[in-house]
Amino acid sequence: MKGIITVVGKDRVGIIAKVCTLLSERNINILDISQTIVQGFFNMMMIVDLSNSTETFEKNEEDLERLGEKIGVVIKLQREEIFNTMHRI
């Protein structure tokens, strides 16, 4: 199962590192990363493969949200299908 992680918020040191650490601890593989910073505003999208994750989707989603709260950004994990369905025929 593929998921999309988005991180939005004020830029600071170590955002990607913290997210990636959490993912690697759970055996979630990163397939693609893209990010920009506009006027100090951090905006990142990751495509991840959750097929071998050691945790459930729900737990991953909750923990990423909590991590975001801790480091002052908004982190969301969503199933990829919602984006594919909306933007691809």
Binding site: M45, Q78, T85
Partner: protein, 452 residues
């Protein structure tokens, strides 16, 4: 592969423009619950609903989490109770409404529809019992919704029932007068009622439907408004194309949620209802879309044309996005549930008559309109008859959900709370239609209904 911009667009629609799936409605047939003993009937109904819908809310919440899309309501529709209870030896169906209410509470849904009767050509004895039970049923329950189909293009209009419903609406208002007559917000009368509508108060599980089915209502007026902000001043072709593309995207999300819910609940997928449904939240309004098109206020000249093009292009975009489209599929123009409509009424831009004209080009009719509590039952029947005639002649669904708020007069404000919002009491034309309504009988089907 999906791009960052596309991901951003979707999430902006959800976060800023309030894109959501308005309802997942589980339709359940209660035909096999029939019993001549009302206690046994009630038990069978309770058991069937609580068994069939036990995972509905949980599944809805799981889907919400995983896809990151809010699913505002999880609801249930059942076979019209006048059919289910027809074989019962009783003179009141109020206890069945209590059973539906209890079952809805048990499984955690906020509304259950189907305390209904289909009387477009005439009332049988069971229909009569159901209609008589409506005021008490709606006063004593919280989650039960009631609907009555009074006419159709194929059969004409049952004017006896139109007359009776004017009285029933008044009685329902009286029975719930300590709560601003809120009982009437859960009661709707139809012409050409769809049997697979997922939206309340008019949802019921039609007799031509299978055992159970998942119907989904999408929404997203805010998304359409946001999209139209980018084409300010452009011609109608551009305007229509923009609505169409946006509707396509919105509907695809509905289709995804419907398929997913159907798979997880192991219940077949029925239809997607393409209606744009507003909520009282700012930025989730049909009136604001009309204003974005270039009208100072909803109700200004041009409003009917603007609504017609909106409705048509939502359908054109939506039809391609879903394998099955049904239900009401139109734009909802409820006054109390739409901040822009409320403002338009308060500013004097929007009258009951203009709303009636607008219902000729969108699907739902006069919806959530508060009127003075002293409006006569015949006048209410007259308003219903007009709306039924529009539906009958134009081969479309029309409805009336009107609330004569006991103790309130024109210009007062009534607060229903939650998704039902608040509304200013609108002015009603009080010239009498008493003699017309009291004639009784049926209005025959229109000539263009004879298509065979």
């Amino acid at each position: 592969m999906i791009t960052r911009l596309e991901v951003q667009e979707t999430n902006k629609m959800i976060e800023e423009s309030k894109l959501d799936v308005r309802t997942i409605t589980l339709g359940i047939s209660l035909q096999d619950c029939a019993d001549s003993n009302i206690e046994k009937l009630n038990k069978k109904i309770y058991d069937k609903i609580t068994k069939t819908a036990k995972d509905l809310v949980k599944t809805g919440e799981e889907i919400e989490r995983e896809f990151g899309i809010p699913i505002v309501n999880k609801r249930i529709s059942v076979t019209p109770i006048s059919i289910v209870a027809a074989g019962c030896r009783t003179d009141s169906y109020v206890s069945i409404a209590h059973t539906l209410d209890r079952a809805a509470k048990e499984v955690g849904v906020n509304f259950i529809g189907g305390f209904s009767a289909l009387v477009q050509k005439g009332c049988n004895s069971s229909d009569k019992i159901l209609i008589k039970s409506i005021p008490q049923a709606l006063a004593e329950t919280q989650r039960v919704c009631s609907s009555v189909n009074l006419g159709s293009t194929r059969t004409g209009i049952n004017m006896d029932a139109v007359k009776e419903m004017g009285d029933i609406i008044k009685r329902t208002a009286e029975a719930t007068k300590d709560k601003d007559s809120i009982g009437c917000a859960k009661l709707v009368v139809f012409c050409n009622a769809p049997e697979d509508n997922p939206f309340m108060a008019g949802a019921f599980h039609g007799v031509g439907e299978r055992e159970c089915v998942i119907n989904v209502g999408v929404s997203g007026p805010g998304v359409v408004k946001k999209a139209l902000e980018t084409v300010k001043g452009k011609d109608f072709e551009t305007l229509c194309e923009t609505v169409k593309k946006t509707a396509f995207k919105i509907t695809r999300v509905g289709q995804l949620v419907a398929k997913e819910a159907s798979k997880r609940l192991n219940v077949p997928f029925g239809i997607i209802d393409l209606s744009l449904a507003p909520t009282p939240a700012i930025g989730d309004s049909i009136a604001e879309i009309l204003e974005e098109m270039g009208l100072e206020r909803a109700g200004a000249p041009g409003t009917t044309a603007a609504l017609a093009l909106l409705n048509d292009n939502v359908k054109k975009g939506g039809v391609m996005a879903s394998s099955y489209v049904g239900g009401l599929s139109g734009a909802f123009i409820p006054v109390s549930e739409d901040q822009g409509m409320i403002k338009a009424v308060e500013a004097g831009a929007l009258s009951l008559e203009k709303l009636e004209a607008m219902t000729c080009v969108c699907s739902v009719g006069l919806d959530m309109i508060a009127i003075p509590g002293d409006t006569s039952k015949e006048t209410i029947s007259g308003i219903i008859a007009d709306e039924m005639a529009i539906g009958m002649v134009n081969s479309k669904t029309t409805a009336v959900r009107i609330i004569p708020v006991i103790g309130k007069k024109e210009g007062d404000i009534v607060e229903f709370g939650g998704l039902l919002g608040y509304a200013p009491i609108m002015s009603v034309n009080n010239f009498s239609c008493k003699e017309f309504i009291q004639r009784g009988g049926r209005i025959p089907a229109p000539i263009h209904s004879f298509k065979n």
